[in-house]
């Protein structure tokens, strides 16, 4: 039986810039920020109150998994907004939305009533969308 999700990956264009966004704009905490042999940087973040699921901020680079062309293709798809970081829960969508807008976070949809709650949709500084949901 699978009991929980520990890590999910979001591809970003630049790990330093992504860390700045997730930490200083969204208020996430750093889980791990480690140099791994082979030059890979293992970087994870999580929302302050729940470290159980951590987001791995990874850069698509030429390596064992991607050739140069594939890595470049993924980078351009990220910038186009093809990928999403998923749904982030909040206690108050409107309030969180306003706080984030004040910090300069770009939104493509303001808080809107949905069947499952109130949802706003924003973009991280790589171009990945994320959803802010109040249930």
């Amino acid at each position: 039986m699978i009991t929980s999700i520990a890590h999910a990956t979001i591809y970003v264009l630049n790990q330093d810039e992504a860390l700045d966004f997730y930490k200083n704009k969204l208020g996430f905490e750093i889980g791990d920020d480690m140099k791994v042999e082979g030059g890979f940087r293992w970087l994870t973040v999580y929302p302050k109150s729940n470290s159980q699921l951590q987001l791995v901020l990874a850069e698509p680079k030429e390596g064992p998994m991607f050739n140069k062309e594939a890595a470049e293709k993924i980078r351009s798809l990220i910038a186009e907004g093809a990928f999403g970081a998923g749904v982030f829960e909040t206690e108050n969508c409107q309030q969180t939305y306003e706080e984030l807008v004040a910090k300069g976070v770009e939104f493509i949809q303001p808080p809107t009533e949905q069947l499952y709650g109130v949802e706003a949709m924003g973009l991280d500084n790589s171009g990945n969308w994320f959803s802010l949901v109040q249930r």
């Binding site: 520990a6 140099k35 791994v36 082979g38 990874a58 998994m65």
Partner: protein, 136 residues
């Protein structure tokens, strides 16, 4: 699952644990931050998160200790203190129980795997990621 109101309270207690796991924490400290009685806090916490407050605390402490053992050159007793235990004996046996290895053995094994000192060995991150990004 607790109601929203209850959830906010128990979450405040959980936040307190996450922020202060490196200090001595008793169940009544935790419950006080949630403004509920210790027994009730324990029960609602377990219902909500699937683990007791103490299990959560141990999980955070062991995870942090593992990281420090690999990337820092502190002694095991310094690390024990750093993650909130006053007794080296209870820290060591707890660590052994959780990871199947004593802290010194864990460090020795992981350091042996890394090419550079105090560098995270690829084996210390989930293998799927190491395989994906490093081809290991």
């Amino acid at each position: 699952m607790a109601t929203n109101y209850k959830f906010k309270k128990v979450k405040a207690g959980r936040d307190h644990i996450a922020d202060n796991f490196h200090n001595a924490l008793s169940l009544s400290d935790m419950a006080q931050h949630a403004h509920i009685s210790p027994y009730h806090f324990l029960r609602v916490f377990k219902d909500t998160y699937g683990e007791t407050p103490n299990e959560f605390l141990i999980r955070l402490r062991v995870a942090h200790a593992k990281k420090l053992l690999i990337t820092e050159n502190h002694s095991v007793s310094e690390i024990c203190e750093h993650v909130g235990y006053s007794s080296l004996g209870s820290f060591s046996s707890l660590f052994l129980k959780q990871t199947g290895m004593a802290p010194t053995l864990y460090r020795r094994k992981l350091w042996a795997l890394s090419a550079e000192p105090f560098c995270f060995p690829a084996q210390a991150i989930p293998a799927c990621y190491a395989r994906h990004f490093l081809g290991k």
